[in-house]
């Protein structure tokens, strides 16, 4: 198990290095970039050329890449020139990552709280009106462009429900910062109003973001429960005369949980991508908003670091899922 984990971690480093080289080379090959961002519309051809030379952007890309790696090794991933001009890319990531975790976690909670019970009920009543409607409903969830749903929620429900429509916390509250997780911070410092305020800011964006994981969790739960219901041990249990609640508790749910847990882990990708769109709509200062702004303003240092970090998080979560999978189901380990 340990050896397997180490091997996977080494592979992770390899994948990330190759990915960073590809991203770096591609970004550098493009026109504009740092020079345009720094000089703006006042640039002259000479000042452009001079700055290109000064920044070392005229050197071969592979040379630039190794210089970048050298600096990256000491934690310096460059300085933003569009998202938060002047701040280091790392600072931006560290500052914004807790926000995105908070948001993704809330979205996942909503998705699980709705998806698992609904999926279970739908499977138990397979083919019923309720089953068909919830299947189609979940598919509509997948078909809605996330940002459109976010706008609909923001424009129509924030007034209705009295929820804040933008940002992460009301600035006037003056909350103390401890961990960067605003809800948690408020609990730690006993500034409960700050927690409550941060929580209110999370509701609408989390609802928008929850649609995709909800649909997937719902369908996987439904499918898993259906499959388990058919399997021999349930039939055996039935023949042994066990009552329905007991079967459900002992066998069906536990066995169905395996694919569901996996799916929840796999939703990290959808959450990270969805956060870009949702955070932009709600001006929620997370990694997603920084990515959206980075694309819009062509902030290459920030894009590079945030994309690499997204890949690391994504691959790590997948690794964790695989490991927990192996722990739950011993059959995997033997492969």
């Amino acid at each position: 198990m340990l050896r397997y984990t180490i091997r996977r971690l080494i592979q992770l480093v390899g994948v990330v290095l190759v990915l960073s080289l590809l991203l770096f080379a591609w970004l550098r090959a493009l026109p504009g970039g740092p020079v345009s961002a720094l000089l703006g519309e006042r640039a002259t051809p000479e000042s452009r050329a001079a700055l290109t030379k000064q920044l070392g952007l005229d050197q071969p890309i592979i040379v630039q890449y190794f210089k970048f790696l050298g600096r990256a090794a000491s934690g310096d991933f460059g300085v933003s020139n569009g998202v938060q001009p002047g701040d280091s890319a790392m600072e931006i990531f560290l500052q914004r990552f807790p926000a995105t975790i908070e948001l993704s976690f809330s979205a996942l909670l909503i998705a699980i709280a709705l998806g698992i019970p609904l999926g279970y009920l739908a499977a138990k009543r397979r083919g019923s009106w309720f089953d068909n409607m919830s299947v189609i409903g979940s598919l509509i969830g997948v078909a809605i462009p996330v940002f459109f749903l976010a706008y609909v929620l923001k424009d129509n429900f924030s007034h209705l429900l009295g929820l804040p429509s933008i940002g992460r916390q009301n600035g006037d509250i003056g909350a103390t910062r401890v961990t960067g997780f605003f809800v948690l911070d408020g609990l730690l410092t006993r500034e409960f109003d700050a927690s409550w305020d941060a929580l209110k800011h999370l509701i609408l964006p989390a609802m928008a973001l929850a649609t995709i994981p909800f649909a997937v969790i719902f369908r996987i739960t439904r499918a898993a429960v259906l499959e388990v219901l058919d399997e021999d041990f349930v039939r055996t249990a039935e023949s042994k005369g066990l009552t329905a609640p007991v079967i459900r508790r002992r066998h069906v749910l536990r066995n169905a949980m395996l694919p569901v847990v996996t799916t929840i882990g796999l939703q990290t990708g959808a959450l990270l991508s969805g956060a870009v769109l949702t955070e932009k709509v709600f001006a929620f200062p997370g990694v997603g908003e920084a990515l959206a702004l980075g694309f819009e303003r062509r902030d290459y240092p920030v894009l590079l670091l945030l994309l690499i970090m997204a890949a690391i998080v994504y691959v790590l979560v997948n690794l964790l899922v695989d490991l927990s999978y192996a722990l739950i189901d011993p059959r995997i380990r033997t492969r």
């Binding site: 493009l30 189609i136 078909a143 809605i144 990708g269 062509r298 994504y314 690794l319």
Partner: protein
């Protein structure tokens, strides 16, 4: 080097579901599935509409014929009026015509992205699955790198890297993301078949490798590929909208596309919601149609469901 056993498993599990006999029974069950029929009807109407749209559209979608009714200073756009039942857009172009012609471009984006993704995946997957050995290793390492970024994020990054964004760059960004998925699917299916009886038999009989691949292995992998393609058609259309929303879409809107129409009007979502709502609803319906078809196909082709 492996990337998430589980993620791959999902794809590979689909790949194992092969067999010609399956097709016939699947079709039998599909014909009786109301969900599939709903999906197929939606898509049928959509395809017909988009093919006929150049003749159906009452006006040129690029002509700012109602420009005199556009007053930015008062946030006025042409209202519905005789000859223009949906009014005009922000540049005074006939909105109905744009919606109609938009269906065609939307179909092109969906089909284009799917075809390119499929072709790329086909080449890589066939190489890896049929030849194996070091080719397989190289291809799969490449696929792993691509799978290390969440799909939509990868699409955003690829789109951002085009110096000259266009319809084509949008299609390419969406399709490249699908290549590793298709490649994995085909490879898995081929690996499964390499060990199967009829391939082993053919090899023993001295049939050439190329012939085995193209006459036996590829056709048998088609089922899961068709399922995946149908699902990709839906995501491609939604992703095109997301790209436009982030300013990474096709900036030239003379020939409209629904995703672009939706993504471009974010500044007037609150004041002219219909400019967003019409394309959004169309996208949702069409994406739902493709998904319904794909999901029912998947279920029909799943041998476990043959009861």
């Amino acid at each position: 080097m492996t990337l998430g056993v589980t993620k791959k498993e999902k794809i590979d599990a689909l790949a194992e579901n092969v067999g010609v006999s399956l097709a016939a029974s699947a079709w039998k069950r599909l014909r009786r599935s109301p969900v599939f029929l709903i999906g197929a009807t939606i898509i049928g109407i959509f395809v017909v509409l988009s093919l006929l749209s150049p003749w159906l559209a009452p006006h040129d979608p690029a002509d700012p014929m109602l420009i005199k009714q556009v007053v930015k200073a008062r946030n006025e756009i042409p209202p519905p009026q005789p000859g223009h039942p949906l009014g005009g857009d922000l540049q005074g172009r006939d909105f109905l015509s744009r919606m109609l012609v938009g269906s065609q471009q939307t179909l092109i984006v969906g089909v284009g992205a799917t075809l390119i993704g499929l072709t790329g995946g086909l080449i890589l997957g066939t190489l890896a699955g049929a030849i194996g050995g070091w080719v397989d290793s190289v291809v799969m390492r490449f696929v792993d790198v691509m799978l290390s970024l969440p799909a939509l994020l990868l699409a955003f990054s690829i789109a951002a890297m085009f110096a000259h964004p266009s319809q084509f760059s949008v299609i390419l960004a969406i399709s490249i993301v699908q290549i590793p998925v298709f490649a994995r699917l085909l490879r898995g299916s081929m690996l499964a078949q390499r060990a199967s009886d009829h391939v082993l038999a053919a090899t023993a009989l001295g049939v050439k490798r190329g012939s085995i691949v193209f006459r036996h292995m590829l056709p048998n992998s088609l089922g899961p590929v068709i399922v995946q393609s149908t699902l990709v058609l839906a995501t491609a259309i939604i992703e095109a909208a997301a790209l436009s929303f982030l300013g990474l879409g096709n900036p030239d809107d003379r020939i409209p596309e629904w995703g672009q129409m939706l993504g471009d009007v974010q500044k007037v979502f609150d004041t002219h919601p219909h400019l967003a709502a019409y394309p959004a609803i169309c996208i949702i319906i069409v994406a739902l149609g493709f998904t319904l078809m794909g999901e029912t196909l998947r279920e029909a082709l799943d041998p476990k469901n043959r009861r």
